[in-house]
């Protein structure tokens, strides 16, 4: 427990900054909608006239950005990226920091097993990720509600954010697994971010070209897209199963590699 509270305290400041970032992103993003919506249908036509690649990069695709919900769907892509970056960096640093700050010689000579060390660290990271998610949900629901004139979208947003939480878990445990496996604690965070960026770019490339559509199973950014979750059939079973598999594999790898690791001190 002491380790858990220590980690919460240590991550408090960065979590607050991230939450402020998310609030600004949601509020700022949705306020742009206020400007666009007054011009009505024309925005959709303008977007439709753009090349498909550009649409893919902006994440609009088939979303109707003249409605608050559709517009939020575009914004959600960027919220997902932020959440994923936060989660992967948190996951990798919470594990690698004992080596980076050379405190491994303090912590790991205490009467606590490495499994317990990892467990408490991951629980603390989970709390962080959950708070990040809640802040995103509350601010999103409030901002969409403010501009929305159709049916209430809170339920849709809740499902979307549930998807984002799963995405956060995938990247959190990806980060912790990489930090446990690597011999160079310094490179852990950058390596996880590189993987994250790789999968994100892949998801955009899939949007640009339908011929590589089958690669969507490889990038979690395709698992919980707004156009599917909000305006399609909700969360898809195949993606839920894939997510569960990734989470379990990364979790297992985190414990296994951390237990067998020679601490770099």
């Amino acid at each position: 427990m002491n380790l858990f509270f220590r980690e919460l305290k240590a991550s408090r400041k960065s979590l607050i900054l991230w939450c402020i970032g998310i609030l600004l992103m949601v509020a700022g993003g949705m306020s742009k909608f206020g400007g666009i919506s007054s011009s009505g249908q024309s925005m959709n036509e303008l977007m439709g006239a753009m090349p498909k690649a550009l649409q893919a990069i902006m994440g609009t695709g088939s979303l109707d950005i003249s409605t608050a919900g559709g517009y939020y769907g575009v914004l959600f892509l960027y919220l997902m990226v932020m959440a994923a970056i936060h989660a992967s960096m948190l996951g990798s640093t919470i594990v690698s920091k004992e080596e980076l700050e050379k405190t491994a010689e303090f912590l790991l000579v205490k009467p606590i097993s490495r499994n317990k060390v990892i467990t408490w660290k991951l629980i603390a990271a989970l709390v962080n990720v959950l708070l990040f998610n809640i802040v995103t949900f509350v601010s999103s629901a409030a901002a969409v509600e403010y501009y929305n004139d159709g049916k209430n979208l809170n339920g849709d947003i809740a499902i979307l954010l549930a998807g984002m939480f799963i995405l956060q878990l995938i990247f959190l445990f990806l980060g912790s697994a990489i930090a446990s496996a690597t011999r160079k604690p310094k490179s852990a965070a950058s390596l996880s971010t590189a993987v994250l960026m790789g999968t994100f770019l892949l998801s955009i490339m899939i949007d640009m070209s339908t011929s590589i559509d089958f690669l969507k199973y490889l990038t979690p950014f395709k698992y919980f897209e707004a156009k599917q979750v909000m305006f399609g059939g909700g969360l898809e079973a195949v993606f839920l199963i894939l997510s569960a598999a990734f989470i379990l594999i990364f979790l297992f790898a985190t414990y296994k590699f951390y237990k067998d690791k020679d601490m770099a001190v």
Binding site: N2, R6, A10, E101, K102, T103, A104, E105, F106, L108, V109, K110, P111, I112, S113, K116, D260, D262, M263, V265
Partner: protein, 294 residues
Amino acid sequence: MSVIEISNLTKTYGKARGINNISFTVEEGEIFGFIGPNGAGKSTTIRTLLGLIYPTGGSAKIFGKDCIKYGSEIKKEIGYLPSEVFYYENMKVLDLLKYSASFYKKDCSKRMHELADILDLDLSKKIDDLSLGNRKKVGIIQGLLHEPKLIILDEPTSGLDPLMQQKFFDLLTEENKKGATILFSSHILSEVQKLCDRVAIIKEGEIVTLEKISTLKESTYKKFKIETAVSLDKEYFQIKGVNDLEEDRGTATFLFKGNVNSIMKKIAAIDIVNIWIDEPDLEEIFMHYYEKED
């Protein structure tokens, strides 16, 4: 009872450094010195004992239990002071020490304040603001506050001024009298000589010798310097046990190992002006083990 039993412990990092086939035991109540220059494998051995890194061969037991398998259990009774002390940023000394104590299921606050008083450390300061020596004090308190049965110290005196070093040694002696076993690594021989009962000398990852401090000194040479009134025959002192004989206008110097009586009779038979007989200090013994065999 042996507190530490190391048998054929090996740790290799690729081809580079590491330790090879190290075996020794540390008995209960002993102050055991572990000496060698930087990079000889002292820290590697200690870190393997503490389960920070895993051996590639051999094993080690602490309190009779395997140090990897029962790691978290035996660490309840181990206090460790690393050679370089690093702590979490932005923590006050008191918070760090309380955090350290919270891992042990006993009340350590009384001992913590006692130690802080002895070492003259201000607990309200932030760790970031401390000097190297004061950080070391935090490390010492952190390693001793739960009154461990085994104290492992890796180069503990670096950064401490001589006065503080003395206080620290007194503290260790006191802990030792209360029953604690101490493993003390160092490259400074005089401090090992002052404190330890036995030493293991490590060189390039291997144990070169393992001796009582007293035997180590006994089994080695004595230095003789003799001044005579008249110049001696150059071969006069050339008897069994004499080495490095030098004769220079009535002053003879040599190293002697063996029965002292034989050399004393030789000396008694001549007319001498002055005589010096020196015990070699550990430094010289150490150099003896460290000279590359050629």
